[in-house]
């Protein structure tokens, strides 16, 4: 037992020597791999034996562990999911540069979900059955997660899912690194009701499960807790670009707050038409839970400046973690890239997995699932996160105001971490 412990320590030192600052770059790291394999086999005894940390036949060798990245690199969702892919690759590179996981480098296999839910299921199955990946970082839309969920449960995989979503779900085989609906919405509504004295709300959403569930929760909160009124609730098909009729209704009902969860490309049309109709967002309060820095890239800062967004992360956050994260991201993916809420949540996935594996001392999915609650990541760009017993994250809710340059200015954040509550009582 004690010899094993000292072995771990030695391996850490060995890795540090290997990855001196000069060698930090990925390519250099890869160049060093052949050198490692030329060392006498005895040196591997210092990292825990593969047979001990992998009892279920996952793709773990003495030097490597394989994970899967499963997002849409093509199709309509590619514009949103590319940020997640980039964040996950950055996290994996950083983890490898810091010595890997249990002394093993992370190797990833990327698969394309192609914005098509059945393809997601097929590729998830391929990653788990053929490639035996130790974990999957992936999915974005609720529909893709719903398609993948039965697969990861059947083949006992581990999925790290980055998007804020509607809740009503909890699985041993999924860690939800984004916010569930109550975490995202309630604090934002409380803030705007207090700050703006808002009493009447108009809901506009895209027509699928996430906006509908989010608005249901928001409606209950407005009516039962804030004692306000919902003066309108409208849904449009995904990809819809004609919002003039709803904008007329907004003009007629004059709500204190427009509350929106319109997703994807529809946002571009919505905010442009809102502006063209003469609704000035510096006077008319608008709270969105679906626009991040990524979407503003398409909408244009001048069309949305003044709107409030309710998220857990903004690129402009002022904390030491984020000050290291943003430049590292831009260095890897280009100066022009922007980082939205989900991108940051995707970045948490590989890190949380690494920390959990090290806590469990094993790559086995059952042990990771059991060890996840209580795992905390102090280096999170959003500040600090911890995994709850229900496999969601404790995190803060923040409200930002969109600026002309496409960034958000932080206006408000909750004092404490908000508890995740995927099955909220009284909101169903």
């Amino acid at each position: 037992m004690s010899s094993n412990k000292s072995g771990v320590l030695m391996s850490d030192e060995a890795n540090k020597g290997l990855l001196s600052p000069l060698r930090r770059k990925l390519l250099m790291g890869m160049a060093a791999v052949p050198a490692i394999s030329m060392l006498p086999r005895a040196s591997f005894a210092q990292t825990p034996a593969t047979s001990a940390v992998n009892t279920t036949g996952l793709a773990v060798t003495d030097t490597e562990v394989t994970v899967g990245i499963l997002h849409s690199a093509t199709g309509t969702m590619a514009i949103s999911e590319t940020g997640s892919i980039e964040a996950e690759k950055l996290a994996i590179e950083q983890i490898n540069a810091a010595g890997g996981v249990l002394g093993r480098k992370i190797k990833f296999i990327q698969e394309d979900g192609a914005s098509d839910w059945p393809t997601f299921a097929e590729k998830a199955k391929k990653l788990l059955v053929n490639d035996k990946v130790a974990a999957i970082m992936g999915c974005w839309t609720s529909a893709s997660r719903k398609a993948v969920l039965p697969v990861v449960e059947q083949y006992n995989g581990m999925l790290y899912y980055p998007t804020f979503y509607e809740g009503l779900e909890q699985s041993k085989n999924v860690i939800y690194t984004g916010q569930e609906a109550t975490q995202q919405i309630l604090a934002g509504l409380d803030w705007i009701a207090k700050e703006k004295g808002a009493k009447s709300f108009f809901f506009i959403g895209s027509d699928y499960i996430w906006p509908r569930t989010s608005n249901k929760i928001a409606r209950k909160h407005v009516e039962n807790v804030l004692k306000g009124k919902v003066v309108g609730e409208e849904y449009y098909p995904l990809g819809n670009t004609q919002f003039n009729s709803v904008i007329n209704k907004i003009k007629l009902t004059k709500p204190d707050v427009i509350f929106t969860d319109v997703v994807g490309g529809s946002n571009v049309a919505f905010y442009k038409q809102l502006k063209a109709a003469g609704i000035d967002l510096s006077k008319q309060a608008l709270l969105t839970i679906s626009v991040t820095e990524d979407e503003i890239d398409g909408i244009g800062g001048e069309n949305i400046a003044g709107a409030y967004a309710c998220m857990k992360y903004f690129q402009s956050l002022d904390n030491p973690n984020n000050k290291a994260f943003v430049p590292a991201f831009k260095k890897m993916w280009g100066e022009k890239t922007v980082i939205g809420d989900v991108t940051q949540a995707a970045y948490l996935g590989p890190w949380l997995w690494k920390l959990t594996v090290e806590k469990a001392g094993s790559f086995d999915v059952d042990k990771i699932a059991a060890a996840s609650p209580g795992v905390e990541f102090k280096g999170a760009p959003e500040g600090y996160v911890r995994i709850h017993e229900n496999h969601h994250l404790w995190s803060k809710t923040r409200v930002g105001r969109a600026k002309l340059d496409g960034q958000f200015e932080l206006i408000y954040e909750t004092a404490d971490l908000v508890e995740p509550d995927p099955f909220p009582k009284g909101y169903q």
Binding site: E111, D112, A114, P118, K146, A147, L149, I209, R212
Partner: protein, 380 residues
């Protein structure tokens, strides 16, 4: 004997080769995961087969076969979803015993439309009859008014778009854009483990071969000849006293039923159904499978579907960011260079050589009809 109502000798050989390929070669060479992928591809082959009759022979281009694939698939999925939503499985819901997506949408009792899908017999009938009758209605409305060609294609597209919007919009009843996921058992028999996938694969191959036989029968019957005649010169057939509309309706209905069988098998094999198979894009993709295989060739439809889907999977696995370009390139090459698809390549280049090889050894046997004349490339 060899030149009966179903096939001539070269067709018989072709069908046997396909049967051996599907029943023996693939199961022996592929692992269960890949075999299940083939099963998924083959569900599209049913659609392609229907399109050969409807489009290749009848000349009716339908760009809305996804509608029928979807109707068949949803009927099957409704049955499976009900079985997966037992009170025991859904006890965390506010209303246990109904599908999870209904619970999310505040529906508190099972809608009337869903009730009959507790019965497997009803479901099987519905898989055949719902799309069949729907096709009959569309076909009657269109063909009796002599709407054809491009206009018909456009209308089928519209139907596909409407059905997608309907399914997405009525998410409390249909599962919306997420579709129906997490289908588990068929009459208590778990459809998810590997051995079930193998059983389903063979069952599906059997069904496909049966559908190929039906297609062969249609093609060799008088009906098939009228269809071809209609495609080439509709007015002449009409003036000869045939009711052109009825023949068209028949071809369209049979294509619809084939597509629905494919859809039902899809729900069983893949374990879910979603509106992404109903809309315009998948419908056009299905036409592409037929085009790649050769729209005049019944067997070509199967090979074309397999080839395109294999290419899709392997390209996307190797080049996650570029694969769509590769696939696009493949389509353009096939359509430009080989307008009759795989079957055209076979008929023009491969078969003549085999024929020559055989005929150089022995004299040409009787009843060895020249296929390319019988099938005839359409005069467009």
């Amino acid at each position: 004997m060899t030149d009966n109502r179903f096939f001539n000798r070269s067709e018989l050989i072709g069908i046997l080769v396909l049967a051996v390929f599907l029943v023996v070669v693939l199961p022996l060479t592929l692992d269960v995961f890949r075999l299940n992928l083939v099963a998924k591809y083959l569900t599209y082959a049913f659609v392609a087969l229907g399109l050969v009759i409807c489009w290749g022979y009848g000349g009716i281009l339908s760009l809305g076969q996804g509608v029928f694939f979807g109707l068949g698939g949803y009927c099957m999925a409704m049955f499976l979803k009900l079985e997966a939503s037992s009170v025991e499985n859904t006890k965390i819901q506010s209303t246990p015993g109904i599908p999870d997506f209904m619970d999310w949408n505040q529906i508190t009792s099972l809608p009337l439309l869903w009730q009959p899908f507790h019965s497997l017999t009803f479901t099987i009938l519905a898989i055949i009859l719902v799309p069949g009758i729907f096709a009959l209605i569309i076909g009657t409305a269109m063909f009796k008014r002599r709407v054809g060609g491009t206009y018909f294609a456009i209308i089928t597209q519209a139907v596909a778009a409407i059905l997608t919007i309907l399914i997405v919009g009525q998410q409390g009843y249909t599962g919306g854009i997420n579709g129906m996921t997490d289908l588990r058992t068929l009459k208590g028999w778990d459809i998810r483990p590997d051995h079930a996938k193998i059983v389903l694969y063979f069952f599906e191959v059997g069904l496909l071969l049966a559908c190929i036989m039906i297609a062969q029968f249609v093609r060799h019957s008088k009906l098939g000849r009228i269809l071809v005649a209609m495609r080439e010169k509709e007015d002449r057939v009409r003036f000869s006293g045939y009711s052109v509309a009825n023949f068209k309706i028949f071809a369209f209905c049979i294509a619809a039923v084939f597509a629905a069988i494919g859809g039902a098998m899809f729900a069983l094999n893949v374990g879910f159904m979603s509106p992404s198979f109903v809309g315009i894009v998948p419908s056009i993709e299905m036409v592409i499978y037929t085009a790649v295989g050769g729209r005049l060739s019944i067997l070509g439809a199967v090979y074309g579907t397999l080839l395109v889907n294999f290419a899709k999977t392997s390209l996307s696995e190797s080049f996650p960011e570029l694969w769509l370009f590769g696939l696009g390139g493949l389509f353009i090459t096939v359509v430009l260079a080989f307008p009759n698809g795989l079957a055209g390549i076979w008929g023009d280049y491969v078969q003549p050589r085999i024929d020559r090889l055989i005929s150089s050894r022995k004299p040409k046997p009787e009843g060895w009809t020249d296929n390319s004349v019988a099938d005839g490339a359409p005069a467009e």
